[in-house]
Amino acid sequence: MNLHEKTLAELSAALRSGEITSRSLTTHYLDRIRALDKRLNAVITLVEEQAMAEAEAADARIAAGRAGPLTGIPLLHKDLFCTDGVRTSCGSRMLDNFIAPYDAAVVENLREAGMIMLGKTNMDEFAMGSSNETSYYGPVRNPWDTQRVPGGSSGGSAVAVAARLVPTTTGTDTGGSIRQPAALCGITGIKPTYGRVSRWGMVAFASSLDQGGVFARTAEDCALVLGAMAGFDERDSTSVDREVPDYAAHLGASLKELRIGLPEEYFKEGLDAGVAAAVDAAVDVFRSLGAEVKSIRLPNAHLAVPTYYVIAPAECSSNLSRFDGVRYGHRCENPRDLTDLYERSRGEGFGAEVKRRIMIGTYALSAGYYDAYYLKAQKVRRLISEDFREAFSQVDLILGPTSPTTAFRLGEKADDPVSMYLSDIYTIAVNLAGLPGMSIPAGFVEGLPVGLQIVGNYFDEARMLNAAHQYQQATDWHLRVPPGFE
């Protein structure tokens, strides 16, 4: 069995038994990235020397018996987690030259857990996009069909796992940026409850919605990594001071009497028939595992996308103001005066989608429009949260499609932002409510993966991960390898 076919959990066992070394593992994955990524463009930056040095240190820890379950396991970070001494570009020309003097909390936590950072993954510019076509470094390609998009914004992270370039990657999810690419690439991805993972050092897109999370092939692997990256951080005022459960230890529970809700609103027009059939079949698997399935209502679900496209751009318009060419990042040549410096630095540094959202957000916050847009959107956001509260009084988990279609073609939606935005129609409400959500592989339509979304109540990640794990014990969708990446 090739090393890269093993799950993270299997690699962890092999490392600690001495069967393999972190150095050999790291070399193996670096070789794969060098050989295969030309076809995918999933990786922006590789740090080979640093990785080998870390792997050596990890081997020493393993030999000394001081290893944890993640010690010596290679990973890639989405390129909006700041990494001390290594460029953090956010997929933007604006930060093409930016090297942070600090690590994001997520990077720090996983480094402390002994993981080896091989580099940084490609992404939609500043996490704005659903196809990974807005990156300054070019689009990322879906390994299942390189003419198709991998989803976004964490497209590079999803592809790196799907193509077995690393066992796991980090991502961020503001409106579906982990779940939708996980679905389109046929892997497992989880966005935990807002506040579960520190946002310190994670470059902000929309602060009230952004949440870091993880991609891997299996729920079990996600459980291991999430456990290490989550936790309270006093540097992030929105992080929640609550103990992190041992997610992996909860993976043995039966699904008998688990109450599953299917939102009527998620199975209406707009949903691809093939995707619907795959989701139905997945729900049947849960039934066969003992879960009770019932229909529920999320009456305000149809308002999630418009609400999101007021709040997220509003926050982004303010969050991205710091990129002004004055202290770091892209600065135009020979500015004539201050206004010229701002206009050209930002005009040259940002791509079209980022500019579009800054414009929308600036408009929504403007005097005279604030009440009609931003304030109204916040009220609707509360209604959406109430819908979920009501739903979770009846069920334990909510299941449905992650995205209405499978991976679409490169360029297919690039000129139609509204159609692009609708590919996050089932994921966005979860961010608005701050709930945890994940996507797991649940079948194929015409050779392209379908994702099943699992939404849990606040801080109920352990239950979600266990449900996903039980499903993966009963199915093998998550083990399928894109042809050419075996």
């Binding site: 909006l80 987690f81 700041c82 953090t88 956010c90 930060l95 930016f98 942070a100 003097p101 600090y102 994001a104 946002r199 310190w200 050092g201 994670m202 470059v203 902000a204 929309a206 602060s207 009230s208 006093e234 540097r235 992030d236 005022s237 929105t238 509003a314 926050e315 318009s317 303010s318 991205l320 103001s321 710091r322 990129f323 002004d324 004055v326 202290r327 770091y328 201050l338 701002y342 600036t362 916050l365 403007s366 005097a367 604030y370 931003y374």
Partner: protein
């Protein structure tokens, strides 16, 4: 035409915390540029603000001191605008829900009446950095040491009707924040500054005129002058048939005039919205109680106590309680001179204050401590020296020659109260000024002053004045 002036002030008081309002960087003044700015202050990507609890405590102190409502829930908002000294492109402030609202302070008017000035709100915010325009020939320098320094912005109601009232209000707030220990009040360093909103209207009118805002006034004198200039300017505009333009103005102290700011902010829409990086600030009753218990005696209460306990006039009590340091000094002098409160008041307000002003030093740095001044007063009270000699001793103490007793001893200033010695001196004077003696005896009693003068000259001022007077009168009439 009779005009009425309407003034409201926005005072920015820099809170005396050790670290910044949203980061751990130091707030100390005067460091090398950009050495006290951390990643948060620089607005690097991915960093986040964490609220300084001490700044909250200070804001709450102020709220309680002015009898205001302290919000159980207040919200930080972003004020968005681009400027090079504003690293994030927004300032974190409070907008719709400030921590303090609806308070009031009393000011004393020139005629001795008391007027209440409403405080609309006081909110927490971060300061911006500084643009340095004269450091480089072709560029503007940016110093971000000040970025993130905590400010309490104190907004008054438009309750003031003259520049004098505005100054009295500003002094009152200045004294209050220093009493509370929440601001060092240093106006030169910009720790305490204000913007003045000024408008005029016809007497009797109930509607406000169009106002202008004069920015960044950092001395009481500038506040008074800027307002007076602005009032006259606006009246001139209106009386010549023009209209006042609502605008931001700058006071030029050198020219003693205000003029419109070529403003970056003028047409700005700040697009305020709640800062999603910070949770709403929640303050419970227990916290309020704890802060209340920490409050010192405040100026108004202290003034009333000084009037009652020490029998001072309202004016004297007002002067002596203007600052906490002054009040503490005064009470220490009383203690050191066995409770002679009035004598102590005269000296503290008189010679002591005059010397402070002249040498422009703070009370804490004054060479004459409260116990030294008390020791001097004791020597007046026990007739060791006269009040006049005491002034000389005070000078010597200020010059660093030691305490009162040492100076009296060294300079031989002890008063002559020996009646035998005084009689001999008086006899000499009478003998050598027969003409004046004759006139005195003929009814020109004013001449007593002449004889006192001669005796003081002969004793180098050391004669006990009461004793001298009595002896002179007896001998001259004899």
């Amino acid at each position: 035409m009779e005009w009425e002036v309407v003034i409201g002030l926005e005072i920015h008081a820099q809170l005396a915390t050790r670290s910044k309002i949203f980061s751990g960087a130091s707030t100390a003044y005067g460091a090398e540029p950009n050495t006290q700015a951390c990643a948060v202050d620089l607005g690097l990507p991915g960093v986040l603000p964490v609220l300084n609890a001490e700044a909250v405590r200070m804001a709450v102190k102020f709220g309680l001191a002015i009898d205001a409502t302290v919000a159980s829930r207040s919200v930080f908002a972003r004020k968005n605008y681009f400027y090079p000294d504003l690293p994030k492109g927004y300032q974190i402030s409070q907008y719709e829900l400030p921590v303090v609202s609806q308070g009031a302070v009393e000011i004393e008017l020139d005629d001795g009446n008391v007027k209440t000035i409403g405080v609309t709100r006081a909110h927490l915010e971060e300061d911006a950095g500084k643009s340095v325009h004269d450091a480089f020939p072709d560029a503007t320098g940016i110093d971000l040491n000040r970025a993130g320094t905590p400010l309490l912005e104190i907004v008054s109601e438009p309750d003031m009707r003259s520049a004098r009232e505005a100054v009295a209000y500003m002094k009152k707030i200045h004294s209050l924040v220093r009493y509370l220990g929440i601001c060092d009040g240093n106006m030169q360093e910009g720790s305490f500054r204000c913007d003045a909103n000024v408008s005029v209207r016809r007497k009797g009118s109930h509607e406000f005129g169009v106002r202008t805002e004069t920015k960044n006034l950092n001395s009481f004198r500038f506040v008074e002058r800027a307002i007076n200039f602005e009032v006259e300017r606006q009246i001139d505009v209106l009386e010549s048939g023009g209209a006042v333009v609502q605008e931001t103005r700058l006071y030029d102290a050198a020219k003693d005039e205000t003029r419109p700011m070529r403003s970056k902010e003028e047409a700005n829409d700040y697009r305020y919205f709640p800062d999603p990086d910070l949770l709403p600030l929640e303050i419970d009753a227990a916290f309020l109680e704890a802060v209340q218990a920490e409050l010192p005696e405040l100026p108004d209460a202290k003034k009333r106590r000084f009037m009652g306990e020490y029998g001072l006039s309202a004016y004297d009590a007002g002067v002596l309680t203007a600052s906490r340091e002054m009040a503490d000094y005064y009470e220490a002098v009383i203690e050191a001179c066995n409770g002679e409160a009035k004598l102590a008041a005269n000296w503290v307000m008189g010679d002591f204050s005059a010397h402070l002003n002249k040498s422009a030093c703070e009370i804490g740095e004054a060479p004459v401590t409260a116990s030294m001044l008390g020791g001097l007063l004791i020597r007046i009270l026990d007739n060791t020296i006269s009040g006049k000699i005491a002034k000389e001793v005070f000078e010597a103490m200020w010059a660093g020659e030691g305490n009162a007793d040492a100076i009296i001893e060294a300079r031989g200033l002890k008063q002559i109260s020996d009646s035998g010695a005084l009689e001999a001196i008086i006899d000499d004077i009478i003998a050598s000024h027969p003409a004046q003696v004759e006139q005195y005896r003929a009814g020109k009693e004013k001449l007593i002053g002449f004889f006192v003068g001669q005796a003081m000259k002969a004793t180098q001022g050391k004669a006990n004045p009461q004793q001298l007077n009595a002896l002179l009168k007896r001998k001259l009439s004899g």
